[in-house]
């Protein structure tokens, strides 16, 4: 797939630490790209480099095939994690100012702002000072100013922090809408559920290194462990007794008239074999393959990377 934005071998060093070392990402056109990683991994550094707030020490960035340059800032919409508005300034005036800073003419900005204020039903706020708004209201205004100049690349850094569940849904809808309308989105978050829901591709950064990348579906597939959850009744004996010895029984729980259990099959054994082993003894109510959540994958990958680097450090010592 053609990539709309790409960063190649980005390295960024500060006085005492390296924020990014040789990180590359490819963001396909009209997709949502999740930039994941624990705190301090280097996500914000990379996002700032993409926004040209700082420059990389090494590496190159390409925007729609062109080398990234200052003209591109007007095509990028950025909602930073550390965000806010001028407290003493009126909402409408401020939105106009920020839109104009992105190169939108005053008239265009007014027209678009009117549209969005209507859509979010916040017209009444136009002449209010920002400090009079609640945090959630401010976030809505913030979202509008992020997209007001119709950017083709959007960068959301922890977009859902500070929103209530209703607004989170509204925001998700808008993000999906933006993609439908042709925007490419880079999206950094700790909320793994929203990654599964929204992202097409991800890159996982840990301690300045990229440790995992690919499409969400493919990654989850590779992390499958051949584990299944079953619900059954009409059998009260231990499940272990009817399972072949090589099958691993991870969990078994009695819940009213149903028993729930989790079984991991050895590699190469299909789920049909499990079903055939069970059917003569039990009445099967449900049978589901457990696909690891992004959350599990995140924790597992980061822990593994951390212990690896500790081991290698120990080896060096």
């Amino acid at each position: 797939m053609e990539s709309y934005f790409s960063a190649q071998n980005i390295t960024k060093r500060y006085a005492h630490h390296t924020a990014l070392s040789g990180v590359s990402i490819e963001v396909p056109r009209q997709s949502i790209f999740g930039l994941l990683g624990p705190n301090g991994a280097g996500k914000t550094s990379l996002i700032r480099i993409i926004n040209q707030i700082t420059g990389p020490d090494e590496g190159e960035l390409f925007f729609n095939g062109e080398k990234l340059n200052p003209r591109h800032t007007e095509m990028i919409g950025y909602l930073p994690e550390e965000r806010g508005l001028y407290k003493k300034m009126k909402v409408g005036e401020q939105a106009l100012y920020l839109a104009q800073l992105k190169g939108v003419s005053r008239q265009d900005a007014l027209k678009k702002l009117r549209f969005w204020f209507e859509k979010f039903e916040i017209q009444a706020w136009w002449n209010k000072k920002v400090e009079e708004l609640s945090k959630g209201m401010q976030q809505k205004v913030q979202f509008i100013v992020t997209i007001i100049h119709d950017p083709s690349l959007l960068i959301f850094d922890e977009p859902f922090s500070g929103f209530d569940p209703i607004n989170v849904n509204l925001l998700k809808e808008e993000i999906l809408n933006l993609r439908k309308n042709g925007a490419t989105i880079i999206f950094s978050t700790h909320n793994m559920a929203s990654v599964e829901e929204l992202c097409d591709n991800i890159a996982l950064i840990n301690k300045s290194h990229k440790i995992l990348e690919g499409s969400v579906k493919a990654i989850r597939k590779t992390y499958k462990t051949n584990t299944f959850a079953i619900e059954y009744n009409q059998y009260t004996g231990p499940l272990r007794a009817i399972l072949p010895a090589s099958y691993e029984l991870l969990d078994e729980q009695q819940d009213d008239d149903l028993t729930k259990a989790t079984v991991r099959l050895p590699a190469g054994v299909s789920q049909n074999e499990l079903i055939s082993a069970l059917l003569p003894h039990i009445a099967l109510h449900s049978f589901v393959e457990i696909i690891p959540t992004m959350n599990d994958i995140f924790i597992e990958t980061v822990n593994k990377a951390t212990s690896d680097s500790t081991n290698s450090q120990n080896a060096l010592l």
């Binding site: 500060y14 006085a15 700032r48 926004n51 040209q52 707030i53 700082t54 420059g55 020490d57 200052p70 800032t73 007007e74 990028i76 950025y78 909602l79 930073p80 550390e82 965000r83 806010g84 508005l85 001028y86 407290k87 003493k88 300034m89 100012y97 920020l98 104009q100 800073l101 992105k102 913030q142 100013v145 992020t146």
Partner: protein
């Protein structure tokens, strides 16, 4: 580039629309007008009788100085040295010495005193002397005119000819006289130290303090603006649209324009208030109608004005002498320098203030960085008092050349007259320094604004200078 104008516009408009700006704009001129008006009235309120010896070698002004409730003029006939000695032994207030002019009419006088001579006394003396000299000149001119018609005419005495009809614009222009009055303070052992005129001192000190005040006031505004952007977390949104340097310069320039606006409004409003005051207070009006100017000398019947004249002269003299002395200062250089030193000094310190604002998370953390930055400013305002007593000494010279103190000290010196090469050198150095300061501040700023929750040290800021953008 369009974007930096957007930033300037926002910074400017958001400040001039604030209530505090409007209040300051109204209060400032009231205070400044008060500075002009109150001293004059205070001087008049003091009721101590002051004895002034008059040693008039010309004989022109015999009995022209009239005793008032506060001044007692005593004419003496002796040589200057004796008169000076007498002044010391007899505890007189001052000795007015009017030397015989070498060629034409008297135009200079010296006033000796132990203490600074009050400004209204000097004003009164100058007014009386100027009036007398003008009267004499006018008499001569009128006589000339009359003789053209009637060569036999010897002197005034009959009023068959209306003198007013003979006074032309040209004559009035010819007779305009400027009296220079030097005041010399006599020291403890009779040493004479030349004292500069109070007005130059006043103007110099006032300009210096105003610069100091403006740098602090508007520099702090820049700093607060930067902290506000950092605290409200809007800065990252903005720097994704404009370069941090543009944001910083936009803010500094925007605030500078606010300062200029405020200054110009102050000047206009102060002048308005003083003018209005002079118009509505009858005693303060500087009347220059011909009848009044020459009435006592030519004895043209104008009793009404003659009676009130002297009283008026005393009360108006304080005011008129200030405007007169203010008129003697080179306004072109004064205003140009003020605007230059205000802008350059402000840019120099404003850049530092912006960098400090960027380095900290809240205003309370600014203290440790503010101290070293403000020390030169405070030093300058302290030194200003020495400089004003010796505006040509080495202290004055060096402090008005060194960029960190020059905006204040040079403004203090300018009313006394400063050689152009010194002015040029000082301005040149200041320009180079503020460009350097803005460059350094820009480097600290762009790193600082994105740095949160970190106690920043000087060493840390030093490192920021070398980060790649």
């Amino acid at each position: 580039m369009n974007k930096i104008f957007l930033v300037i516009k926002r910074e400017y408009l958001s400040r001039v629309q604030k209530k505090s700006f409007i209040v300051m704009t109204i209060l400032g001129p009231l205070l400044m007008a008060g500075l002009f008006i109150v001293p004059v009235y205070l001087a008049q309120m003091s009721d101590e009788m002051k004895k002034i010896d008059v040693l008039d070698e010309t004989g022109w002004f015999m009995n022209k100085f009239e005793n008032s409730s506060r001044f007692n003029f005593e004419y003496v006939v002796e040589d200057l040295e004796t008169a000076k000695e007498n002044l010391t032994t007899k505890k007189g207030y001052a000795l007015l010495y009017i030397p015989k002019p070498s060629a034409t009419v008297p135009s200079a006088a010296v006033i000796y005193s132990e203490k600074q001579v009050s400004i209204d006394l000097k004003g009164y003396i100058k007014t009386v002397m100027a009036k007398e000299v003008e009267n004499q000149k006018l008499g001569a001119e009128i006589l000339k005119e009359i003789r053209k018609v009637n060569p036999e005419y010897k002197s005034f005495g009959n009023d068959s000819i209306s003198k007013e009809s003979l006074i032309s614009e040209e004559i009035l222009k010819n007779i305009k006289t400027n009296i220079s009055l030097t005041s010399i303070q006599m020291g403890e052992e009779g040493k004479e130290a030349k004292s500069y005129t109070e007005v130059s001192m006043g103007v110099g000190m006032f300009a210096g303090i105003l610069i100091y005040f403006f740098i602090f006031l508007f520099g702090a505004q820049v700093m607060r603006g930067v902290i506000e952007e950092k605290v409200s977390r809007i800065v990252e949104v903005i720097v994704s649209s404009v370069k941090p340097f543009q944001l910083m310069m936009g803010k500094i320039v925007g605030v500078a324009l606010v300062g200029l606006t405020q200054f110009l409004l102050w000047v206009v409003l102060t002048l308005t208030i003083v003018t209005v005051f002079q118009t509505i207070m009858p005693g303060s009006v500087e009347k220059k109608s011909p009848t009044e100017v020459f009435s006592p000398g030519t004895r043209i019947p104008a009793e009404a004005s003659a009676v009130t004249e002297e009283a008026e002269a005393v009360s108006s003299s304080g005011m008129s002498v200030i405007s007169e002395a203010l008129g003697s200062i080179n306004y072109g250089i004064m205003i140009f320098s003020f605007i230059f030193y205000f802008l350059a000094g402000y840019l120099l310190y404003g850049a530092f203030f912006a960098a400090i604002g960027a380095a900290v998370d809240n205003e309370t953390d600014t203290q440790q960085f503010m101290m070293p930055v403000t020390i030169p400013l405070i030093l300058a305002i302290v030194m200003a008092q020495f400089v004003i007593n010796n505006p040509e000494g080495p202290v004055a010279f060096w402090f008005s050349i060194i960029p960190f103190t020059s905006p204040i000290i040079m403004m203090v010196r300018i009313p006394f007259g400063v050689p152009y090469w010194q002015l040029a050198l000082s301005m040149g150095l200041l320009t180079v320094t503020f460009i350097g300061a803005v460059w350094l501040a820009g480097r600290v700023y762009r790193t600082g604004i994105l740095m949160y929750g970190k106690k920043v040290t000087w060493g840390e800021m030093w490192k920021w200078l070398f980060y790649k953008a």
